[in-house]
Subunit: 386 residues, 2 copies
């Protein structure tokens, strides 16, 4: 599908055809210069290239930093002979360091000349990822729409990657579907809400977070312009790919030794369920207990209770297990069952843990993922710049 | 002033006269049984005794737990011959363990018989604290109102105490002032907002947090019933004592090696300033950087930016230092000054660190306190119940 690639600390993603594109950015008031620029460039719903550097976040870098981000887009536009507005720019790395514009421009030049001509989506994407960096997360899926095979691929960078970089999360998805850019934007928002927005490594929202999708239409399907059954099939695949990448990011979280899936069931609203998951999965006390396989489940209830959601603790059923089918019930209707700590501790030895909170109040539910909190997290983050 | 005391895992605070009282409790939806009971008992604005156990939080303990909390109040009421409604109950310890009612009642009996008759506030309070537990935090202040000396004393339990107990914060303040209970309630709310609510150890709100103040009028002043100059003098002393106790709690936070004071200046509102302080002081990335004396100040800006406050990053001045007079400016109008990392690193060696964010947007300001995040925090919390 015309996705090509890059080198060590720089990635260049290029679509041979102009693509419908959508992008979501950090909600942080303090945002990086490339985020400011890409926000402008995505407004027309189109993109043809994404250029990403690591090692320097280009955030809190003042006017110099802004000029650096603009130069990245200009250089890419020149080399690929595409409009500058169709280039998205992303950065990840240390905040507040002078941005090494010249070095990055040299890198872009080198990358652009190495872009290969191969056409097949899967292998090209995989190649792009492998050459980007050995810790990269990748995913691929294909599906049929009216007899046409659609290819979708994604790469992500999470925390603990290259440098541990303030938990910056970057994800770029490419697809050869033909789809209207407003619909693509809606699909991306929904998918990100249910996947990337439901993971936490340490609760800090980076100044640089960015998720982009480009759909260039090269598969040759009839362009999707309404929320029909074809849109739903595309959406299901997009969400699946985003979930896959999101879980990879958590698994590779800084110092993570376990992947924890949190399920809140029978909540009054999906938003309530999400709030509880985000608060529990981000609690340092819950995460240190999980690291220590300490069956201190009271911390889960304590964190749920401060999520800003009105629920009745006396209706809650709580389960912990290695997965949904192997879980130990601890609370029934808010009343603790006979001491289950040793059984729970046994389940917690697994590297994948499932925590289920059933509020017994409504019909909404949500799922999210978090890591644990280890000595290694402290070591990594206490020794970052120095 | 008629404050008397207790033993190892149980504290009993008793006022010889019925006192005007006010109390603030955890905002957590999942709250402990003693919190539910004390909420009822404080409604009349009066109290004469506070009974506190450690070792068991009596939270998520179901109906049995509720009966245990009621029994604590009943027993205290009987032994001291005061109305049950004038007894406040607090607990701290592990959540979800069956509550050992019988053992706690024995402890109360033992305590009540050991209450001494001594009158002098300072030494009695200090004594109460010393016997409560060797890690207790205490404070004392006195001031004059119309020629009458008013004594005020406080004790606090923070995180990292007895057992590390989910960051449960308990503080009890006694004073011999005569004051209307509605005014006392208002004073306590204001003081707590500026002190205990501005500290963070790990961002988790306990199911058991409680701050109470009793003013029994034994100093003999004319009762304060309006917000006059005498009220202001009382309030200033109350806030000072609360700040003292709050800072002691942070200093003794689980695994804390440093005390960090955060000041936000020239914000649009005090609430904006508080939100930024709470988010920055609670950021794991900021706290690990402080532990590692890593001058990675970008994390401070990153955390400030996600506080939910609308401010202009391009106006911010940022300073870090060992105190307000010895601080290094890093950002001016949002632009980084020439590399200051080594200078900042030097300042960060101190055990007390000050971080100043000047938003240059308004006239409001706030101050708050946090600790750092060490290996020891992880060790303590990964090994709590087992």
């Amino acid at each position: 599908m015309g996705i090509k690639s890059k080198r060590r600390d720089l990635a260049l993603i290029y679509s041979e055809e102009p693509a419908s594109a959508a992008s979501l950015f950090t909600q942080n008031v303090v945002c990086a210069e490339p985020v400011k620029l890409s926000r402008k460039h995505i407004k027309n719903g189109k993109a043809q290239a994404i250029v990403v550097n690591s090692g320097n976040a280009n955030a809190c870098t003042g006017d110099e930093g802004w000029r650096g981000a603009v130069a990245m887009a200009e250089k890419t536009s020149e080399l690929l002979d595409i409009p500058m507005e169709d280039v998205l720019v992303a950065s990840t790395g240390l905040i507040g360091e002078p941005f090494p514009t010249e070095k990055v421009l040299e890198g872009i030049e080198e990358c652009a000349h190495k872009l290969s001509d191969r056409e097949m989506a899967g292998s090209l994407t995989a190649n792009a990822i492998l050459t980007t960096d050995t810790f990269a997360k990748e995913g691929f899926t294909d599906f049929e729409i009216e007899g046409t095979t659609i290819n979708m691929a994604g790469i992500a960078k999470g925390s603990g990657m290259i440098h541990p970089n303030m938990g910056t999360m970057l994800a770029f998805i490419t697809c050869d579907l033909a789809i209207d850019s407003d619909l693509l934007d809606e699909a991306l928002r929904d998918a990100v809400d249910r996947t990337f927005n439901m993971i936490t490594v340490d609760g800090d929202t980076s100044t640089n977070d960015m998720v982009s999708v480009m759909c260039n239409g090269m598969a040759g399907n009839e362009k999707i312009t309404t929320k029909n059954e074809k849109y739903e099939r595309f959406y299901a695949n997009l969400e699946k790919l985003c979930r896959h990448l999101a879980k990879l990011i958590v698994s590779d979280g800084e110092g993570a030794t376990k992947l924890v899936e949190y399920r809140v069931k029978q909540a009054k609203s999906e938003e309530d369920a999400r709030k509880i998951i985000r608060t529990v999965s981000d609690s340092s006390l819950v995460k240190t207990a999980i690291f220590g396989t300490d069956p201190n489940w009271g911390r889960i209830m304590g964190a749920a209770g401060r999520a800003g959601v009105d629920f009745d603790p006396d209706k809650v059923d709580l389960y912990i297990g290695s997965d949904e089918d192997h879980s130990v019930q601890i609370l029934k209707d808010g009343q603790p069952l006979d001491d289950r700590r040793s059984e729970v501790k046994k389940e917690m030895q697994a590297s994948n843990i499932t925590v289920i909170l059933d509020l017994n109040e409504g019909t909404a539910e949500s799922v999210g993922w978090g890591s644990d909190f280890s000595y290694e997290y402290v070591r990594i983050n206490a020794e970052y710049t120095t």
